[in-house]
């Protein structure tokens, strides 16, 4: 039996990538874990010391943490859910042949390519209770009689920020699902037609199963991105009024901004764990489905 000769080349070749990943991902993560175990508040540098799980216990007792976690679930659930539904509808529309399809496809990408900060500022003016175009439109249509301070009252602020994130994310789903739709062999639809399937049956029995992997991956990616997103909410409301739009990532950002890095790190880690709870079963299901398909 011939022994394989050890070659350092593969290791050397992947070393640069590993070093970069360690520097920009693993080191900050380890650092965050370390800070979460300390009273790491830069406003009180002389009091920084190891405190074990005290920050985690404090988070469990913090009503704002639980409120932010609930908001995050709603933010992700409704936001990503609606993005998916409307994105799918748009993808189906763009998959049809019609005059000017190329232009419509390009225009539909605008929300996705617009920076989050700009989206936040733009929608802040759209929702403005005094000069906003949305109020003006609703008044002219006779749908409201008085202007609504969308971002200044708790009942409308959170739906407003969710509407904004839905608007932003629709093109991503549309684009990815459109690519998937174009990869479905026409023969499958022909066979379904021969079997007498109607449009709804073709959709649920041919289109959706064919896009299963795309749907899994895109939804997972959006769940992670939306859960971690700060820019849109921060530029719209900064988490207010009365913390009504403060998701966990915004809470982390606000705490980090006030230099309580220990507590901010703790909540960031808890958010990562919560996302892992969603992502791991999700990926397991995906891989299992792929194995079964082989």
């Amino acid at each position: 039996m011939q022994r394989k000769r050890f070659s350092p080349w593969p290791y050397l070749l992947i070393a640069p990538a590993l070093i970069v990943i360690f520097a920009v991902v693993f080191f900050p993560v380890l650092n965050a874990i370390g800070m979460s175990l300390q009273s790491y508040d830069l406003r009180r540098p002389s009091q920084i010391r190891f405190t074990g799980l005290a920050n985690y216990a404090a988070a469990m007792r913090d009503p704002l943490f639980w409120q932010a976690l609930l908001k995050t679930v709603m933010w992700v659930g409704v936001g990503v859910g609606m993005q998916f539904v409307f994105g799918f509808m748009l993808a189906l529309l763009l998959n049809r042949k019609f005059l000017g399809r190329g232009i419509v496809r390009s225009i539909s990408l605008i929300p996705w390519v617009t920076p989050g900060v700009l989206i936040g500022l733009m929608w802040r003016w759209i929702f403005d209770g005094n000069y906003g175009v949305l109020n003006d439109l609703l008044l002219r249509l006779g749908l409201i009689h008085d202007k609504i301070p969308f971002l200044a009252q708790q009942s409308t602020a959170f739906p407003s920020v969710i509407l904004t994130i839905i608007w932003q994310g629709i093109p991503f789903f549309a684009l990815m699902l459109l690519a998937g739709l174009q990869g479905i062999p026409e023969e499958l639809y022909d066979a379904a037609n021969v079997d007498g399937a109607n449009a709804v049956q073709r959709f649920f029995l041919v289109t959706v199963p064919s896009l299963k992997n795309t749907i899994f991956v895109t939804t997972l990616l959006r769940i992670i991105w939306v859960a971690n997103s700060v820019d849109v909410i921060f530029n719209l409301t900064e988490g207010g009024p009365a913390y009504s739009t403060q998701t966990l990532s915004v809470y982390v950002f606000n705490k980090g901004n006030t230099l309580n890095l220990g507590y901010a790190s703790t909540m960031a880690i808890l958010l990562a764990l919560a996302l892992a709870l969603v992502a791991v079963p999700y990926l397991k299901t995906l891989f299992k489905a792929q194995e079964e398909a082989k």
Binding site: P149, A152, G239, G240, P241, A242, L259
Partner: protein, 412 residues
């Protein structure tokens, strides 16, 4: 021999002088950070830096870099930059940030510079005392620059229309808010709100006047007097005397609402006066926030600091001195309308004849600042706006809000 000695002596002295001159004129660059409320102030700061560069005669070049005030987040931006090993040599600064910066040993102690500074006495000694108090030490770490005292802007034409005269007491002020809330076109909807309330970040400053007017103070926010002040604030909103957007209205919004005629009164400092006059001409005036049981208005302050990371501290102090008592002081305060700290500049006709400056000076005796604690920045940026928004929208009562604010500021 004597001639040789004399020659050597002259040569050594000449060389020393040459070295001194060359050292003095060795070009030095100072990076200065500042914020500006509008493009015109921004241009003014660039001009001041250019003038200083052209006239200092010591080879100092100031590079003025602007960063957004962002409702107070400027201080945190500066802190992060300096903690990360970057940041400027000098920066504009707010007194409330002093504990954070001194606790992390980021500021240069100015005592030695001040001791040998010929213009030291041009600034009132009480200001140095305030700077010492803020640092929690016996040293001065921040260089006074200018102050802004909050007062009430109002529209005389709207006062006339509503039949209201300038309030002299707190009760009259509350009554004026009510009367100035008007339906001007008879469609049953409010077109003008009496008071342009600031509920977002920065709103704690005008809010403080309500607390003190009822006899409260910041040492204990849970007294019945302080709670009553909060209740007044809530009532203005609940009764519709402030725009419905007030819980999220910040600086830009209250100024826009006042300038568009949506509000009849709003509270800000002299820094807005030039823009107000540009918009309304003579149809804008000001009065000091009236007293009730107590009286207080916020004294906004802006200082400058030298960061510990600066390698050119002498040059940095030259620049700060120019801003405090030199031409930079006059140019900035004339352009922005801020109250100068230099006694000489205060005496200039521009300041003596300015109607808004008079109101600022009238408010000076009862002007103050919020307690400077290590909790203050978080209290201002997050706790106050969210707690007050909850109170304004009826989620919590005035007493509950004040309890939360007390815990947020004082920890108990």
């Amino acid at each position: 021999m004597k001639r040789t000695l004399a020659f050597v002596l002259v040569a050594v002295l000449s060389m020393t002088a040459l070295v001194a001159v060359s050292a003095q004129q060795k070009p030095v660059t100072i990076v200065h950070w500042y914020w500006a409320d509008n493009p015109s102030y921004s241009a003014q700061m660039q001009k001041i830096a250019a003038d200083f560069n052209a006239t200092n005669g010591k080879g100092i070049t100031v590079v003025a870099q602007e960063y957004p005030w962002d409702g107070g987040a400027y201080s945190e931006t500066l802190f992060r930059a300096v903690m990360g090993g970057g940041g400027p040599d000098t920066s504009s600064f707010k007194l409330t940030s002093t504990p954070l910066f001194t606790a992390n040993n980021l500021l240069v102690n100015l005592d030695e510079f001040l001791a040998k500074w010929k213009d030291k006495d041009k600034i009132d000694s009480s200001l140095y005392d305030t700077m010492r108090k803020a640092s929690g030490t016996k040293s001065v770490y921040v260089m006074p620059w200018n102050t802004q005292i909050l007062y009430v802007y109002y529209r005389p034409s709207l006062f006339k229309k509503a039949g209201v005269s300038v309030p002299k007491t707190y009760a009259e002020f509350l009554e004026a808010c009510k009367k100035l809330t008007m339906d001007t076109n008879g469609d049953g909807k409010t077109d003008v709100y009496g008071f342009g309330m600031r509920g977002a970040k920065g709103g704690q400053e005008p809010w403080g006047s309500f607390i003190w007017a009822r006899g409260g103070n910041f040492d204990n926010l849970t007294t019945p007097q302080a709670i009553q002040g909060m209740q007044d604030f809530i009532d203005l909103y609940k009764n519709g005397y402030a725009p419905p957007t007030a819980p999220m209205d910040g600086f830009q919004e209250i100024i826009a609402n006042f300038k568009s005629g949506k509000t009849a009164m709003t509270i800000h400092h002299i820094g807005s006066s030039i823009g107000m006059v540009d918009t309304f001409g003579d149809d804008v005036a000001a009065f000091a926030f009236p007293g009730g049981v107590g009286r207080w208005t916020s004294m906004g302050d802006t200082e400058n600091v030298i960061l510990k990371s600066s390698k050119n501290r002498e040059a940095a102090f030259e620049w700060l001195a120019y801003l405090a008592t030199g031409k930079g002081q006059e140019a900035w305060c004339v352009a922005t309308g801020n109250v100068p700290v230099s006694k000489d500049v205060q005496q200039l006709p521009f300041f003596q004849n300015n109607r808004f400056m008079k109101v600022s000076i009238e408010g000076a005796p009862y002007a103050g600042i919020f307690p400077i604690l290590d909790t203050t920045t978080e209290w201002i940026s997050t706790i106050w706006p969210n707690t007050v928004a909850a109170a304004l929208t009826g989620k919590i009562s005035a007493a509950e809000a004040m309890k939360q604010l007390q815990v947020g500021l004082w920890g108990k």
